[in-house]
Symmetry: C2
Subunit: 208 residues, 2 copies
């Protein structure tokens, strides 16, 4: 992981940007532990407009948006699925907290490598960003990643913030799945799957 | 595979619908064999507006569209990638022919199960449609597929034509990859991958 601390004053989209500390902290959902970062609780409550204890996809999309960044509904659905392992398209406090910290960490990494504050990073920076998270993919796999996640259609391969988030979550998720089945449990061995295990391991990361 | 023959009079979008037999057959690109279906050659030439011998993404999107069906650019890029194994975002005659036949076959299967001509099929029909292609996924995997490919957001789970095409291509592609590494080569054994093999096997099926 990057040694850089998450920045709350970011120019990018995720939760802290538009969130504030509510004056009604006594009304925080009981599912948050008492030592929870009040920014997260406030952000959750702001998005949980019907006070159901869950945020739906539209609420999460709003919570993840700022003036200069918004996530597509496709990305929002992918995030909800990856953090809830369910298709209910709602997210509760616990999973929201994981998502919040994950995005905060990824945003800090992105900002570190987006040196010119262009809102996108080049292929070399993407490689460094993955390495900083302990992910070293073979060169052919990396080329494939850049091809898949470069939506800028510019002359130089690059990845914008939203696709950087998706890329990291997909690669990390698939890497963890591989290690789960790897006979060395480190990523350096061979992972053996039955057909059902293989399909169930990879499909959540492939389709949004 | 389904025993139903492809229907050229379809209400759905892929190539044959908007294509016609050109009067200038002598000018067909030399890369098509002489016994090629003239519909395919005409369709290719129609979309190859700059006569470069390749169709770009926008040309392919037009070629795959009809009055009541169009594929998103996301799907078009996925199709090009799956049939060319490259990121050049162009498709030549040979790969276009494979794509044409594949879509023709999948359209016939979709029409067979879209009995009410609603433009979408239910979960049971999707299961039957996959089985008709020799694909039997475990129930948990099937539930995941329906969750991921149901973009209709209706009260009853269903999959529209475009997502049916994506679903079939992704599931067939992953199944073939599994069998390639399966020690039984049938899908009934265990497939062992190194990390690089695993990532390179599954990432092409990532829909971005």
């Amino acid at each position: 992981m990057s040694d850089e601390q998450p920045q709350h004053s970011s120019n990018y989209g995720p939760p802290p940007v538009g969130c504030y500390m509510s004056a009604f902290s006594a009304l925080f959902p009981s599912t948050f532990p008492s030592d929870m970062d009040p920014n997260i609780v406030a952000c959750f409550r702001l998005a949980d407009q019907d006070e159901s204890g869950f945020i739906d996809d539209k609420g999460l999309q709003r919570a993840l948006s700022s003036d200069n960044q918004s996530f597509s509904m496709r990305t929002v659905h992918m995030l909800i699925y990856l953090f809830t392992n369910s298709d209910i398209r709602k997210i509760g406090p616990k999973e929201f907290t994981s998502l919040f910290y994950s995005l905060q960490s990824l945003r800090a990494i992105f900002e570190k490598f987006d040196r010119g504050r262009t809102g996108k990073i080049g292929a070399n920076e993407l490689s460094e960003a993955l390495l900083s998270q302990g992910i070293a993919v073979p060169p052919t796999v990396f080329e494939l990643l850049v091809t898949k996640f470069d939506k800028t259609l510019g002359p130089i391969k690059s990845v914008d913030y939203e696709n950087f988030i998706l890329c990291c979550l997909v690669v990390k998720g698939l890497t963890e799945k591989f290690k789960e089945y790897d006979n060395m449990h480190t990523g350096s061995g061979r992972a053996a799957f039955t057909y059902g295990e293989f399909m169930f391991a990879v499909l959540p990361f492939l389709i949004t």
